[in-house]
């Protein structure tokens, strides 16, 4: 029990953080916001899954992926395929030339369900696929790259290219994927209408619970020996390697974990928003998600959630009131975060805390490790991402 308290909840300050976040997500926001705004928050929280994964990957392993949209999208598409098949009953699609297949397939002259889609008729398969497909892709990509010690900027550029390939590939295979329009008009999950207000509330709370779960899992990983090695690796990768550890496998594992979490986020996105399209897979969303994590502070799991909420709320409000200024604000924010607050919200919080509540600093949260930042950044610059 003690161990669980120390490792997973992160001791006193870590537990307080989790409790505050839970109160915010489960009580304050649902009470303060109307159904529409709460649904928006639910959508933002699905991005937070990706941001939490990025904290593991980037903040704690020093590997920056600019292609996390790939995994968000894969998870989302797996869920959307199941929902679309359910929405395309023969009854619902009787005006089509071939009733019983998704509408966009009919528009593309498909006359039977492609083999790739068939297993997605089964809910358990779809659920597994949401987690496993992203993880599997991450495994292949990660194994190929990390074993060859690709890192840093190279890894970032290659994952960015992969995001482009996937979104182009979806665009180019309309009959199979719905193309640029994506998969739209999703209605029910196992007969349960996901568009009603009650359903939106249920999905919101599910999303919050899973997100807290993802944070706890991440903390658990970081508290293990491997977590500590990851941190050490970020600082001095060669030293860890020379000590006999399989550096690449650690990175592959974290990459897969981050991918699986992103997939869950994508699936929850589809459930709450009702569609998925390649515009959620490509380069721009992938980079934006990095910004969410950076905004929160790339070392802080909880910060990732706050960063995601803050940037997205800003985006929604700004674009409602000053659409022309939005890109200036967003661009300025990126630059400001990098130049002035390299540790994001978590860094600001930390510095306020040390200044005013200096007594509380004795206990260090497991997910906030500013001490190693400087050293790690220097190490990265030295290696330049190359071996």
């Amino acid at each position: 029990m003690k161990k669980f308290y120390e490792n997973v909840l992160g001791g006193r300050s870590g537990s307080i953080g989790i409790i505050i976040l839970s109160i915010l997500l489960f009580a304050i926001l649902p009470l303060a916001l109307d159904a529409f705004r709460l649904n928006l928050v639910g959508k933002y929280l699905t991005y937070a899954f990706v941001a939490v994964g990025l904290v593991l990957l980037w903040g704690n392993s020093g590997v920056l992926s600019l292609g996390q949209g790939i995994f968000f999208g894969l998870g989302g598409y797996c869920m959307a395929m199941f929902l679309k098949l359910e929405a395309s009953s023969v009854e619902n699609t009787k005006i089509q030339s071939t009733p019983g297949i998704p509408d966009f397939m009919d528009w593309n002259q498909l006359t039977h369900l492609p083999a790739m889609w068939v297993p997605f008729k089964h809910f358990p398969f779809a659920l597994l696929a949401v987690v496993l497909v992203p993880a599997l892709v991450a495994l292949i990509v990660g194994a190929a790259m990390f074993k060859r010690r690709v890192g840093g900027v190279y890894f970032a550029v290659i994952t960015q290219a992969l995001a482009l390939i996937l979104s182009l590939g979806i665009d180019g295979n309309q009959g199979l994927t719905g193309g640029r329009n994506g998969i739209t008009d999703l209605r029910t999950l196992l007969g349960w209408d996901i568009r009603t207000q009650t359903a939106q509330y249920v999905l919101y709370f599910t999303c919050c619970a899973l997100l807290i779960g993802a944070i706890l899992v991440s903390r658990l990983v970081l508290s293990t020996r491997m977590g500590r090695l990851l941190l050490a690796m970020k600082d001095k990768e060669d030293r860890v390697r020379f000590s006999g550890y399989d550096v690449a496998s650690f990175k592959v594992f974290v990459f897969c974990l981050a991918a699986a979490m992103s997939g869950v986020g994508g699936a929850l996105f589809v459930l709450q928003v009702g569609f998925i399209s390649p515009s959620l897979v490509g380069i721009v969303p992938s980079i934006e998600m990095v910004i969410f994590a950076a905004m929160g502070g790339k070392h802080s799991l909880l910060g990732a959630v706050y960063g995601t909420l803050l940037v997205n709320t800003g985006k929604s409000l700004f674009s409602e009131n000053f659409p022309q200024l939005w890109l200036f604000a967003m661009g300025g924010l990126f630059i400001a975060v990098v130049m002035l607050f390299p540790d994001g919200l978590a860094g600001i919080y930390e510095s306020v805390r040390t200044r005013f509540f200096s007594k509380g600093t004795k206990e260090k949260a497991t997910d906030k490790v500013p001490a190693v930042n400087a050293a790690a950044s220097v190490a990265l610059a030295e290696t330049g991402g190359k071996s």
Binding site: D185, S277, L280, S319, E320
Partner: protein, 413 residues
């Protein structure tokens, strides 16, 4: 409820004249005749003096290029309607939302407009993808969308009025004309890679093969934003089609036509018919790169009729002398007017009543000429063939009869 129609369409009167006449001489509809409780039974944003509508286009992002014209035209129509006394005696207030060329954002903003702002109707969307993203929202929340773009068809909704042409209206008559006029037998189909070009080319292919007894010698698609067409142009040279049938959109358009010209494929040697180039696109492509090629559209800025002359004049007065008006811009302009007519026919702002009242509505003052709303919520309209000149304006060579909208064409699917 009996429709309360003071405003009779007046023939052979210029459009500005009509506005003046209605504002000064005729009896505008007074809000007092239409108590709010009666015209608004579903809790929309309607007060005794105002009615709020939404406008949902991309002001930023890739699509801003195309959607600017629609935003402007819708605003112009709303201003004109307000100057005439509004709708059912109420001034129209507009809430503008930015879809930012991003489909999830479109869905989010649509929901905001309908759920939070309770707008009476929405004028908006441009791409098929954005429409597909918002459609479930409109159906679920029972909103009303006026959609201005020519599109692929295969859709019909109680909650959408399509003011642009569906694919068969835009394609069939144009192909018939070019086949007859140019004795064309072989066609090369080209498109940007998304549903509208693909569906349109599918319809075109069936028509070419089954009706015109011609053949399609090539069909291919390039990602939106693609800028290098060297290989494609070489394939065209190899196949020597009688007609290039092009449905390329956005920035790719400019590269495609520039490179076509640079490769020596010009209108004196090659016939090209497109359904994706309007005056707006020509502004980017440059008239000199298009001279002599044909577009099939329902509207061209150069149309000569009193409605259009007044419209062009009003548009330029508001947005500057250099502004141009394309097909979609004009279709956007129709939206607020058709909505106004529907509200007046229904005597209500309720979405259900407007949806029911819409079929049969005639709008005689449309810049494109007489249009009529079909039961399937699309417009009866004509198709015109325009030939581009170096000045960026088209010379209208052909005009069809009114064509019935047929979003689910039998034999073309």
């Amino acid at each position: 409820m009996k429709p309360h129609m003071h405003h009779q369409p007046q023939k052979r009167r210029s459009f500005l004249g009509l506005i003046l006449a209605s504002a000064l001489a005729a009896h505008p509809l007074f809000a007092a005749d239409f108590p709010t409780a009666k015209v608004n039974t579903t809790g929309l944003a309607v007060t005794d003096t105002t009615v709020t509508v939404g406008q949902l286009h991309s002001a930023t992002g890739t699509m801003a290029i195309s959607e600017t014209g629609s935003i402007q035209a819708e605003q112009l129509a709303i201003d004109q309607i307000n100057a005439m006394g509004g709708v059912l005696g109420r001034q129209i207030k507009v809430i503008k939302e930015d879809g930012a060329s991003d489909w999830p954002t479109f869905a989010e903003k649509a929901k905001k407009l309908l759920v939070n702002d309770k707008v009476a109707s929405v004028f908006g969307c441009w791409t098929s993808a954005s429409r597909k993203a918002v459609l479930p929202v409109f159906e679920k929340e029972n909103g009303m969308l006026y959609y201005p773009t020519f599109y692929e068809g295969l859709e019909q909704s109680k909650n959408v009025i399509y003011t642009g042409q569906e694919a068969t209206q835009q394609i069939l008559a144009g192909l018939d004309w070019i086949a007859k006029e140019k004795k064309a037998k072989t066609f090369y189909l080209i498109g940007s890679d998304y549903i509208w070009p693909r569906t349109s080319n599918k319809i075109a292919r069936k028509h070419i093969e089954n009706v015109l007894k011609g053949s399609v010698v090539g069909e291919e698609y390039y990602a939106l934003g693609h800028t290098q067409f060297g290989s494609l142009i070489n394939k065209i040279k190899l196949k020597k089609p009688d007609v290039i049938y092009a449905i390329i959109v956005g920035g790719s358009n400019v590269s495609f036509y520039k490179q076509l010209k640079a490769a020596g494929i010009t209108s004196d040697k090659q016939t090209l018919l497109t359904i994706s180039v309007t005056e707006d696109e020509v502004l980017g492509i440059g008239g000199e790169n298009l001279t002599g090629f044909y577009s099939a559209m329902k509207y061209f800025q150069s149309l000569q009729n009193p409605n259009n002359e007044a419209f062009v004049k009003a548009f330029k007065a508001k947005y500057g002398d250099k502004s141009v008006i394309g097909d979609v811009t004009q279709a956007g302009y129709l939206g607020p007017w058709l909505w106004k007519l529907a509200c007046e026919k229904a005597g209500s702002f309720d979405v259900d009543k407007i949806a029911a009242a819409s079929p049969g509505i005639e709008f005689k003052e449309a810049p494109e000429g007489y249009v009529k709303l079909h039961e399937n919520h699309h417009l009866w309209s004509k198709l015109r063939i325009g030939q581009w000149g170096a000045d960026g304006q088209a010379k209208v060579l052909y005009e069809s009869e009114l064509i019935e909208p047929n979003p689910f064409p039998k034999g073309y699917q």
